[in-house]
Symmetry: C2
Subunit: 109 residues, 2 copies
């Protein structure tokens, strides 16, 4: 999927029955923001990682555990959290899930 341009409408609704066949995609990368839709099947994990800028994680469907700074947070469809820049976080899908991840590309110095 090509990256979206400014003003281009992107579908980010739940994938539903197609979730099993979908992979993580980058939706766009601008000057200040990058947005991707992360797809993770139940039981799969992303090992702890971090980025310089703040991020939001918005669960679109399913359920996902976000563990950061020794605390676990369960995100279900329709829930969002944000993490500070440089916050190490691990991600484990509790159910097949997709989530929008928005990353600030120009973090505070």
């Amino acid at each position: 999927m090509p990256h979206a341009a400014p003003g281009q409408v992107v579908d980010v609704g739940p994938l539903g029955v197609e979730l099993k066949q979908e992979a993580t995609v980058a939706l766009f990368k601008g000057d200040d923001l990058e947005v991707m839709r992360v797809v993770l099947q139940a039981g799969k994990s992303l090992p702890p990682h971090k980025v310089p800028g703040e991020i939001t994680i918005h669960c679109l469907e399913g359920a996902v555990d976000i563990t950061s700074e020794a605390t676990s947070h369960v995100l279900r469809a329709g829930q969002l959290l944000y993490l500070r820049g440089h916050a190490l976080h691990g991600v484990t899908a509790l159910q097949d899930c997709s989530a929008l991840v928005t990353i600030a590309l120009k973090p505070k110095e």
Copy 2:
């Protein structure tokens, strides 16, 4: 509503029947990102405005017209777009709607 802290789970699902009684709320303002849920009743508008950083607008329910640079974009539930920093944009609710707006606070110089 107090602002969310990092790692705090925030419900951003559709408001449904409560939409008529809700107002726009700031969900949090961090170092790099600010997120608000904008609620707009059918026919209401926000006059053209702009912010220095890039923004994403994610329609959670209803339908909203975003006009920027002489082009109209209709966003429906489950659709998202982004706009460049300093992009003048007007917003008109085509139906009662709510949308997540994410603003990059540290735009590219």
